[in-house]
């Protein structure tokens, strides 16, 4: 049985962004999705470093398009979540859920949520 993968908090955000974006997931859109939906300012470098790490673990895969003149002749690198990636995300969520069970926060938590 393969080792169960857990995702760090930022990795979870990146994988979720890929799933939300579907076929339109590439560096720029992922970065903007994190910034706009998760309200987390993030640099493109952090996004690519995380995606590279996830790809090395076989959790996501990527492929390049043809050079695009509207991008100064540079290609897009699209990303897709692999089944192992979805599994890892689910495992991470379950783990967090188990930890959250029975935890009640005061006003701070309510206000923050």
């Amino acid at each position: 049985m393969p080792k169960r993968e857990y995702l760090g908090e930022f990795e979870q955000l990146v994988v979720l962004a890929l799933l939300r974006l579907g076929a339109n997931a590439y560096g720029m859109t992922v970065r903007r999705e994190l910034e706009q939906t998760a309200k987390r300012p993030v640099t493109l470098g952090a996004v690519y470093a995380t995606l590279d790490r996830l790809e090395e673990k076989g959790l996501v895969s990527s492929w390049h398009t043809d050079p695009d003149p509207s991008r100064g002749g540079h290609p897009r690198r699209y990303f897709k979540v692999e089944p192992a990636g979805e599994q890892a995300l689910a495992t991470s969520r379950e783990m967090m859920q188990r930890m959250w069970d029975g935890v009640a926060l005061g006003d701070v938590g309510e206000a923050a949520s």
């Binding site: 560096g27 493109l44 470098g45 100064g72 290609p75």
Partner: protein, 898 residues
């Protein structure tokens, strides 16, 4: 808009290949699609840099690129390079420790260098953007303004009349083409409202000569100017937005300008600027005109045109100048009545960049020189501080010669590198602040931004600073160490005592003194000028301009008849006098200090004295009440009167300067002048009025003649209203309403308090004074810090750490104080001496642009010397009162302690 190319270049060089292309594409896409629109151009560039640095920090910092190779070399310890790298690594390690221990010193030194590099980079950016960067036209280096120069005539340096323009076009074969333009105000009717517009009449070849074409529509064609002025127009991008709300269908639509229906045939691009037009009054409308023979202005004396030429490929500026010189001499022979011998007549070609930049050139170059001095001061002070630190660690026996040298080099390297990094935001801020503050005073400044080239400059300057801070102190330290005679218990002749060291410590003082004296001289001359009486009372006077419409065929205009123009101004003055709080109202054709109108003239019955050249005067048309509003006094005879109208003889009043020059021993009253060339009107002098400084506070009044508007009325006049209310502008709306009641098709514009008109004439001077004062203050702080550290080092060396030998405490303190003052003076005397000499040289340069500056003003030199002796004494006292820190540590560090 392109992203910063330097950032792209860094990414290409340093990012791993597998992500490089995708990252570049993502950044490009987001930058052009979202970042500029969401953040604005400047913040978008910063955002781009942040993203690029973010990518590099995640993947590959430059240090990580270099590290494996450097480590290998160091590990092997072979060869010169390996030794050098090993030494560098040791130096960095040592300096990291020592600077961490002494963070205050590090912070102050970094700040000093950052301020020095940053002010240099700011000056570089401004000079490059305004003086060096080419104008946005095709091959701008080949564009020239061509014109006749007749000293004293017209308000500009050079100008051309239609016959002269045709002469230049025909005879100057080194010019590929020559366009003539005439700037004027006009009135457009937009949504039923009269709007003043800045217009340019031009020969149809202007845009093709500049090598630009309209962004929309077509350029002028020769047939467009078949009459004197064509009924088509090309409008600016802003005018397109204002009058047609940016609609593409504007082409072919008409605009009512000065009573004519004008068809829009083209719209210029957003960034196009008419050569030489001010940012405050950009040209909004171009209309084609003909300057062929027989057109209305076709008189040799009507020098109202600006001629722009393009030098032919293969010809040079000097060829053109030589040819034009020949044209000038020919004209002098063929038309001696217009160009008398010795009149100073010449035809010149001035590079367009010079014309556009004008007097701001001197201001910017002086600012750049001053910023360079601040950079030198910062480098010298930090280098001296480093030498002192190295010397102290050597003397205390804490470190050997080699280690001390390495420590100093490492510290210099780290400080210079950190200073360079901090200098970037400072330089960006300095550039933004200066361009915002002075955009109205320096042409082209509004378009200057801190860009990639400025970053490269900063990097280059930082390399020099690196040499100054890392290499020079080591050399100095080692030379000094070699000549040292160690004698325990005696005062060793350590660097702080030798003359060279004193001179080095005094150098920054001298440079700072030069800046302070230059700022002081400028400030004193400003103060003197503030006390100069302009010849009128500007306080409480509001000025506003208005212009009667003049159609292309003036005969069809409502105000073609002089009687109707006079009636308009009569009624307008009546309405304005009825405004509450308006004490008096007048009208004048050319407002002093804003507009000039040089004319040639002759004296009836006087012998022509050709050696004296052409007599010239400023000619102004005014209402009799103008003198009451401006409080210009009468000296002899009488003022212009309401009865001086078209039925009576033509009369003028003249000023004292005209009398002094042309009637020194005769009564001017009753004399007759021929105004405006040999065929001009004859006017009799009826009175002499006080002089008025007509061009600026720092220029002498020129001979002037005033005629009544009832005898010679134009279309464009400025109303002057004396009011008891402040600010004067508060009555502007009422004045505009009053004019609207007379005719709402006549717009009011250029509303300004007279006080502001006067103040603006000194804008360049005030700008330079402020910049010099700011840099001078920085230099004083830096050099004071340098003196304090040098004195502290000397005291520590001579009296020992804390002076706590066997001597009782008060005696030790007195001894330290005496030593400090002695060394302070040893540094200050040569420093102030060098500074005085340097300042005299620098002030000589200033006097080239501002001759009346009083460049040997003893008060300023005395005050400067006093200030710097004061700084030296204060620095000496502070160095003693602060005392050394525990363990004989760093005196210098306390410099930064609050």
């Amino acid at each position: 808009m392109r992203p910063p190319s330097l950032a792209d270049w860094l990414l290409i060089l340093l990012a791993p290949r597998r992500i490089r292309d995708a990252v570049l594409g993502d950044l490009r896409e987001e930058y052009s699609r979202y970042a500029v629109a969401e953040r604005g151009p400047t913040r978008a560039r910063l955002w781009y840099w942040k993203q690029v640095l973010g990518v590099l920090s995640h993947y590959r910092s430059p240090l990580r690129v270099l590290a494996p190779w450097a480590h290998e070399c160091v590990a092997r310890q072979t060869g010169l390079l390996a030794r050098a790298l090993a030494a560098g690594a040791v130096a960095l390690r040592l300096s990291r420790g020592s600077l961490r221990r002494d963070r205050a010193f590090a912070a102050v030194a970094v700040l000093m260098l950052a301020v020095g590099i940053g002010s240099g980079a700011t000056a570089f950016t401004l000079v490059r953007g305004v003086l060096v960067q080419s104008l946005p036209y095709e091959n701008p280096e080949r564009l020239v303004e061509v014109g006749g120069r007749l000293p004293g005539v017209l308000g500009r340096d050079v100008a051309a009349s239609p016959p002269e323009y045709r002469d230049y076009l025909l005879r100057a074969t080194s010019l590929e083409d020559l366009a003539a333009t005439l700037s004027l105000g006009a009135t457009a009717i937009h949504r039923g409202r009269a709007v003043p517009v800045q217009a340019v009449l031009t020969t149809p070849n202007l845009f093709s000569l500049l090598g630009v074409s309209p962004a929309m529509g077509r350029d002028f064609e020769t047939g467009d100017a078949s009459g004197a002025v064509g009924d088509v127009a090309i409008i600016s991008y802003d005018a397109w937005l204002e009058f047609f709300s940016g609609e593409p269908r504007a082409l072919g639509r008409t605009l009512r300008v000065d009573g004519d229906q004008v068809t829009v045939i083209g719209v210029m691009g957003r960034d196009f600027r008419h050569p030489g037009a001010s940012e405050e009054r950009p040209v909004q409308l171009w209309m084609p005109m003909s300057v062929a023979e027989g057109t209305p202005l076709d008189r040799r004396g009507a020098r109202v045109l600006t001629a722009l030429g393009r030098i032919r490929d293969g010809s040079s500026l000097s060829d053109t100048r030589a040819q034009l010189g020949g044209v000038a001499r020919e004209l002098q022979r063929s038309h001696p009545e217009y160009y008398p011998p010795n009149s100073g007549w010449d035809v010149v070609a001035i590079p367009l960049t010079r014309v556009v930049v004008g007097a701001a050139r001197a201001t910017l170059l002086l600012f750049a020189g001053a910023a360079g001095l601040v950079l030198l001061v910062a480098c010298a002070v930090v280098a001296n501080l480093l030498v002192s630190r190295g010397a102290r660690s050597l003397r205390s026996g804490e470190r050997g010669r080699r280690t001390a040298g390495l420590l100093v080099a490492g510290e210099g390297f780290v400080l210079a590198a950190a200073g360079a990094v901090l200098a970037l935001p400072l330089a960006w801020l300095g550039t933004e602040l200066t361009t915002h503050a002075a955009a109205g005073e320096v042409p082209r400044l509004a378009g200057v931004h801190f860009d990639d080239v400025a970053v490269w400059y900063t990097a280059g300057a930082s390399l020099l600073v690196l040499v100054a801070c890392a290499v020079a102190p080591v050399a100095r330290l080692l030379v000094a160490e070699r000549s040292r005679i160690p004698r325990c218990g005696t005062a060793a002749p350590w660097p702080s005592r030798d003359r060279l060291h004193n001179a080095l410590a005094g150098g920054p003082l001298a440079a700072a003194l030069i800046l302070c004296i230059a700022a002081g001289l400028m400030a004193r001359s400003l103060q003197r000028l503030a006390d100069v009486h302009p010849g009128f009372e500007s306080d409480g006077v509001l000025t506003l301009k208005s212009r009667l419409p003049v159609p292309n065929d003036p005969r069809t205009g409502r105000y073609f008849e002089p009687g109707r123009r006079i009636a308009f101004f009569d009624r307008a003055l009546e309405e304005m006098r009825a405004i509450p709080n308006v004490v008096a109202a007048g009208v004048v054709s050319h407002l002093p200090m804003r507009e000039r109108n040089g004319w040639t003239f002759g004296i009836v019955g006087a012998e022509c004295r050709p050696r004296e050249g052409l007599p010239t005067l400023e000619f102004r048309v005014a209402s009799p009440s103008y003198f009451e509003v401006m409080r210009i006094g009468l000296l002899r005879g009488r003022h212009l009167a309401e009865s001086d109208d078209r039925r009576n003889r033509y009369v003028v009043t003249v000023n004292q300067a005209l009398v002094a020059r042309h009637f020194p021993d005769r009564d001017p009253i009753g004399q007759r002048l021929v105004l405006g060339g040999p065929d001009g009107r004859v006017a009799e002098i009826v009175g002499v009025v006080e002089d008025v400084r007509d061009s600026s506070l720092d220029a002498d009044p020129r001979p002037t003649a005033y005629a009544s508007y009832r005898q010679n009325v134009g279309a464009e006049m400025t109303f002057v209203l004396r009011t008891g209310t402040r600010p004067e502008e508060s009555i502007a709306a009422a004045a505009a309403d009053a004019l609207g009641r007379v005719d709402d098709d006549v717009p009011v514009f250029a509303v300004e308090a007279m006080r502001d008109v006067v103040t603006r004439t000194l804008a360049q001077r005030r700008l330079l004074t402020r910049l010099l004062a700011l840099l001078g203050a920085l230099a004083v702080v830096l050099s004071g810090a340098g003196v304090r550290s040098a004195v502290a080092a000397a005291v520590e060396e001579e009296c020992g750490v804390g002076g706590a030998h066997s001597a009782p405490v008060p005696d030790a303190r007195r001894g330290r104080l005496a030593t400090a003052l002695r060394y302070g003076m040893r540094i200050a005397i040569p420093g102030v001496g060098m500074g005085m000499l340097g300042a005299a040289g620098g002030a000589g340069l200033l006097a080239r642009s501002w001759p009346e500056i009083g460049w040997l003003d003893p008060v300023v030199y005395g005050a400067g010397a006093g200030l710097f002796f004061g700084v030296a004494i204060a620095a000496a006292l502070v160095s003693v009162s602060a005392g050394p820190r525990h363990g004989g540590a760093d005196l210098v560090g306390q410099l930064a302690s609050p």
